[in-house]
Each structure stands twice: as structure tokens, then as C-alpha cells.
Symmetry: C2
Subunit: 261 residues, 2 copies
DNA sequence: TATAAAGGTGAATCCGCAC
DNA sequence: AGTGCGGATTCACCTTTAT
């Protein structure tokens, strides 16, 4: 039997393969974006931008990245229940490759949700528009699977009695919410805000459902799942992230009120 | 020599082929996204739809749509000046296929601009979030072409002295702006608001530049180009649309004040 | 102690020319 | 192709330091 509310250490694709068919209620995936950053970037005051230069974000080519995504997305589709759905978040660097692969695998796009950042980093050089969004693809297993979970009335209530749209205005994960390492610096370069995961889990799962995150990182998905009285399974390769995530989740003692709506 | 400020009647791909290399300053494309996928995606055996065995070539309709887009986008890339850029608008139905193809052709994404509709049609069934956006991909010919036109300061002024972001809140094209046929019904099913084209043309062309629209429709691109003192070339297959567009553009007598900024 | 000023920072595909 | 350097370029929000 699958163990829930635990973090599995290992390679994402290998660990996904061990999970039974049609067993997961929701998947939230925040894969590497393959940002392809080359040169350093400086602000007008000459301070250096601390960009994403993690090894896990580096791929040799589009084709390498595509193969990686096709592999983990194939497993994700296999393990999803017929009532289940998947969310994948990305930026313009990767979301068009991911979206194309998902369509090819038979996923059915229900919404392309725009995370509209209230406080994005400006474009310092004035060469482009400020990149103020990331995109979340919300998909069912296929067009024929129509009984997916969507808590329409609950989300309407959550949104002040107006139907929630596909644009979510949410700030970056900063301040007290942002996990810091012992050196006082951000523990993970791409930690997501809890409000984002709250909307994802609240809208597309029911209490006691199982939420899987194949790129668990510092465990925002697990933390929010717990606060909403859902179960989680995390897959993560790096020990440091797992330690942080486990401590974060263990220390949670209060639920979100919306958990019982 | 290319004739400007005219509408060419004919097949988009055939007419694009007649345009010389490196001759166009800006392309705005609003391609069809009617992919008619139903037959392709319904498979006889619904119980065992496993992504592993699903070669994407089996999706006949995807493949047809991809081929069509690859063909017109290839010509677009050929005719763009090295300083030129291209905008392609789409919804979640097609933009992930289009974006993937553009990347494969060597286009370099500068922004994925979100058209955030202030008055979207609600989801009446309560089965999804209200789909409130369309996506515009703004791309240069390739990573190496860095001298593309971008009127950063002008757009900052246009945006109340703050850098414009990649999220544009603009209403649907309705009311007086929406062209009606003799039967009083909307003349074109997907007429775009002028404010959208205004931002596109204002930000990425200079006065007297040539803007090409391979899916001209009722000529919003031409109308806005004229009001901004730019030149246009339209390609359109349907006589009815051409007649409407020509009349619309001919009747323009006033410029936008921003044309001389 | 309260308020103000200064400094830091966020998934970033962010310059252009001369040598 | 790589390096060096002059010059143009930023928004919201949080933390730290100064008044």
C-alpha cells in the first residue's frame, strides 16, 4: 500500500513508476523551467541579481528537456484517478514545451491559469515588458474524463461570491513565508507562495484526498495540503530540501478555516 | 516592389511566399485555432488510454494544425527584418502548439503577454474557472537578433510613467467598435479590440514602419496602423472581410495622439 | 518609541561598441 | 570569439539603520 504524508527521496521518474495506476487525486508539479540564463544581470544600482543557477535547472537542449518532461508526465497520467486532475506551473521558458507534450499525451486542458504577480521584478534594461506572470496548466486525464473534482461553489465563496477567473493576483513568496537557510539566504530559489497552492488544492480536491508533488522542493504543497486537511505524497531528490520540508510540515498545528467549507 | 497599405486577397501561405526576405518590420498574426480534434482524441478503447503507447503522430488533427502553422510561421520568419519582431495571439486551445512550433523554428520569446479580459464570458456550467485571458507571444527572429524595436520609454509614458508589464487589462471588442454586418450581427467572430493592437504597434514599431497581418479579417491591424502613422499589408481570403476592412480603413481621418510621441 | 531613510531582493532567457 | 568599458536602466515590499 502507498504510504501517505511522507516525502520519498529519489529520482522523480523512478519513484513515480512505483506508484499504482489510478491512485492519485491531484498532482501539482513545479518542474525545472530550463531558464537558459547566460550572463549575469545587474540592477541599476550595480547589485547583482541572484538568478536561478541551480544544476537542476540546466538541460542540454530542447530535446533533452522534452524527453524528461514526456517521461514524468506519462507516469503522472498513468497514476491519476479518472476523477483526478493535474496542475503544472511554468514560465514562458518552458510552458509551451510542457503544454505541447501534455496535449500529445492526451491530457485535456481545462484552464490556463495566469499567476499575475503583484510585485514582479522589473525589466531593468528596458528591453522588454516586465515579465509579470507564470502560467499554470490545469488538465484532466483526457477529454472523456468529465467527472473531475472542481469545487465551483466553494471557490465562488472564497472569491467574495463571484466566480473565480483564470487570473490569480498573488504576490511573490517573500518575507516571513520565505524559508531561509542557516546563512540567512533563501533556502530554495523558487519557493512558491502558499496562497497559490491554497487555491489549487482547495479548488480541485476534497478533504482526505491525496495530493502528489513530484518536485516537492521545500514542501509548500505538503504544508498547504496539511492545512487544508488533505494528504500528500512528495518526491524530492535533495536531502537539504527534504529536511527543511519535513520540519516545516511537522510544525504545522493550525488548519485553514476553508478546510471545512 | 511591395505595395503597402493594401489588402492582398489570397491564401495566407501562398501570398507570404511572394514577400521578399528581411522586408517587414512587424508581423501581427491572429491565426485560426479551430483544430477540430474531437475525432482524433476519442479513441475506441477508453479504458486503456496509456500515454506510453501514444505516439503523437496518431493525433492526426494536431499534426495537420502543426503543419499549417509551421508553414506560415516559416515564411513569417523569413520575411522579417533583423530588427523586426512578431506577435501571435491565441488561447489555450492552440497557443501551446503555436509556441512550441515557434521555438522549434528558432524564434526567441521576448514576452508572453497576457490579455486579461475585463469582461470575459463566465463559465455558466461551473465546471472550470472563468477563462479570462488570451496569450500574445512576442518574439524576435532568434536569440542573436538583439536590435529589435522596442519603445520602452514611450510605453512607460503611455502607462503612467511606470514600466508596462506583460499583463494588459483590456475589454472585449463590443459596442460601437464591434463591426456589424447588414443583418445587425457581428461581422467577424473574433474581432480584436483596437487598444490591443495599439499597444502592439506602439511598442514595437516606429513611424512609417510596415506592419503585416497574414490573417487580416476585418482589418483591426490596418486601422490601428493607419491611426498610428504606420503602414500595413493585409492578407485575407474572404471577400466579405476585405470589403469591410477596406471601408473601415478608408474612413479613418484622425490619428492617435501617440502617433507622434 | 516612533518615524524616516536607506538598503536588500524576487524563476531574468535584460546593452553595445571597440579592440 | 572573447574582453573591457562607457552608459543607460527599476517596482513593490520587506528589513535594517538612522533620526
Amino acid at each position: 500500500m502507498m504510504q501517505i504524508n511522507t516525502i520519498i527521496q529519489g529520482d522523480c521518474i523512478e519513484e513515480l513508476k512505483k506508484i499504482p495506476n489510478d491512485s492519485i487525486d491531484l498532482i501539482f508539479a513545479d518542474p525545472p523551467y530550463n531558464m537558459q540564463l547566460k550572463n549575469a544581470l545587474y540592477r541599476p544600482n550595480n547589485t547583482k541579481v541572484d538568478g536561478v543557477d541551480d544544476d537542476w535547472d540546466k538541460f542540454g537542449s530542447f530535446s533533452e528537456y522534452d524527453d524528461f518532461c514526456a517521461a514524468w508526465l506519462t507516469e503522472c497520467r498513468r497514476i491519476l484517478k479518472e476523477t483526478g486532475t493535474i496542475w503544472v506551473i511554468g514560465s514562458y521558458h518552458n510552458i509551451f514545451r510542457v503544454g505541447n507534450i501534455m496535449l500529445n499525451l492526451g491530457f485535456w486542458i481545462l484552464n490556463d491559469v495566469t499567476w499575475y504577480k503583484t510585485n514582479p521584478m522589473p525589466n531593468f534594461m528596458g528591453t522588454r515588458f516586465t515579465n509579470a506572470t507564470e502560467t499554470l496548466l490545469w488538465c484532466s486525464k483526457g477529454e472523456q474524463y468529465k467527472k473531475y473534482t472542481f469545487n465551483h461553489k466553494l471557490m465562488k465563496k472564497y472569491n467574495g461570491d463571484k466566480q473565480m477567473t483564470s487570473v490569480w493576483q498573488i504576490g511573490l513568496c517573500i518575507g516571513a513565508e520565505r524559508l531561509k537557510g542557516q546563512d540567512g539566504k533563501k533556502a530554495h530559489s523558487t519557493q512558491k507562495p502558499e496562497e497559490l497552492l491554497k487555491r489549487v488544492i482547495l479548488s480541485t480536491t476534497k478533504q482526505d484526498d491525496v495530493v502528489l508533488d513530484p518536485f516537492f522542493g521545500t514542501g509548500t504543497t505538503g504544508a498547504v495540503a496539511k492545512k487544508l486537511k488533505r494528504n500528500f505524497i512528495g518526491i524530492e531528490r535533495e536531502t537539504d530540501y527534504i529536511t527543511l520540508a519535513q520540519g516545516r510540515i511537522d510544525s504545522i498545528t493550525e488548519f485553514f478555516p476553508e478546510a471545512d467549507w
